[in-house]
Symmetry: C2
Subunit: 234 residues, 2 copies
């Protein structure tokens, strides 16, 4: 059954983003694209309403056409704030970063680099999702071809993890660690952390610089609080 959880108390950062947002996303435990937006809200201490939509409800709304009122492309997450609706998780993260004046680079080169690293992590996620699931006219279900996920786990996932590890350990912006831009966290760190989680922390033991980033996100004080709370589901 779908549910709405109210998180936190409004802060200065809520003013910066135009109020208390509602995040509409699948009830997918604490996983997936929408989780990244949650992580940013939790890390920044931003109050939000967490609308978790059960898969059955989502599929029924796809069939009835109701879901298109939220997003014509029928994809989630959708973020509602101050009367506006925002879709596509990475565009949402970048908008929030701009409004907050943090979680992004401070100049063109840094912003490019965060964007490019995020793009790799987002490709990794898309390939993982496409290997595991298939979206049809009836909604979302498991991929009809189990070979796809096997190939992903054996080749594609490890390739992306190794590629990120090399970028992070060789690029001067990253190499001091622990985050993509060194000491300051960005939205891309949250995206990388979440794909690593969604992939069940596989590939980390072979990629120490990537692992360092993931552990540093895991240790953020407000996220530790979140991970230990009853609103964290795995």
């Amino acid at each position: 059954m779908s549910r709405v959880i109210e998180v936190g108390t409004p802060s200065e950062d809520n003013k910066a983003i135009g109020g208390v947002p509602t995040l509409h996303y699948f009830d997918f435990s604490s996983r997936g694209r929408g989780e990244v937006v949650r992580l940013l809200f939790e890390d920044a201490g931003i109050a939000f309403k967490d609308h978790r939509i059960a898969f059955d409800d989502f599929n029924a709304q796809v069939k009835s056409g109701e879901i298109t009122a939220l997003n014509p492309l029928k994809s989630l997450p959708v973020l509602e704030v101050g009367g506006a609706k925002y879709f596509q998780s990475y565009a949402i993260l970048r908008l929030l970063a701009r409004k907050l004046g943090k979680y992004d680079g401070k100049n063109d080169e840094e912003r490019y680099y965060v964007d490019a690293i995020n793009d790799i992590a987002s490709d990794w996620r898309t390939k993982f999702i496409d290997a595991a699931f298939q979206s049809t006219a009836d909604g979302i279900g498991a991929s009809p071809n189990p070979e796809n996920l096997k190939f992903h786990k054996a080749f594609t996932g490890p390739k992306f993890a190794a590629g990120l590890n090399t970028h992070l350990s060789t690029n001067p912006l990253s190499s001091g660690g622990p985050f993509v831009l060194g000491k300051e966290i960005t939205y891309a760190d949250l995206v990388i952390f979440q794909i690593a989680h969604d992939e069940d922390w596989a590939n980390l033991e072979d990629n120490p610089r990537l692992n360092e980033l993931v552990q540093a996100v895991k240790a953020r004080p407000r996220l530790v609080e979140y991970f230990n709370s009853d609103r964290y589901f795995n």
Copy 2:
């Protein structure tokens, strides 16, 4: 065989982006992710070196490890300019837009919207590429499962085209047409044009607002010149 084509004469915009760039990309006719960067250079009248890498050469360089000198993730395009190397085509487009002060929105809301629409087009592209091709330790080849491309052509491609059409025709930023932001072209218009081309202009007849955008890009005077030149390959 790989080849390098020199295009144009250096302009003011070349100064803005730090010189005459080299674009390293597959020799994939005038298709694919890298073509979008070419389109921006052509549309802006920016001089560049077009390094077209034959698939056989690319696959040999993947095997020898040589390709990792260009990009540890082994993916193309890579853009070299002023001694720096940039990877991930959408991050490259956004960097160029920032340096040029055009091809993007003028405020947070516009930049978010261009980013989100581009994100849909980029998801569409990733799903198309994944349905048609498979990247393995030996390089790039056709997908081993022809059902994947069939499903893409029948369901996924049309779904993305229809979703874009709805956004473009209903969002007040877009609805005046022809581009994502109305009269001013952005990098997202080039990305949408190119995925429509790569999909052989399918799905356009059912989606008039999307078609309007594609025709408006096709009619840009410098792009008309490019399409009629001997450096355009299909």
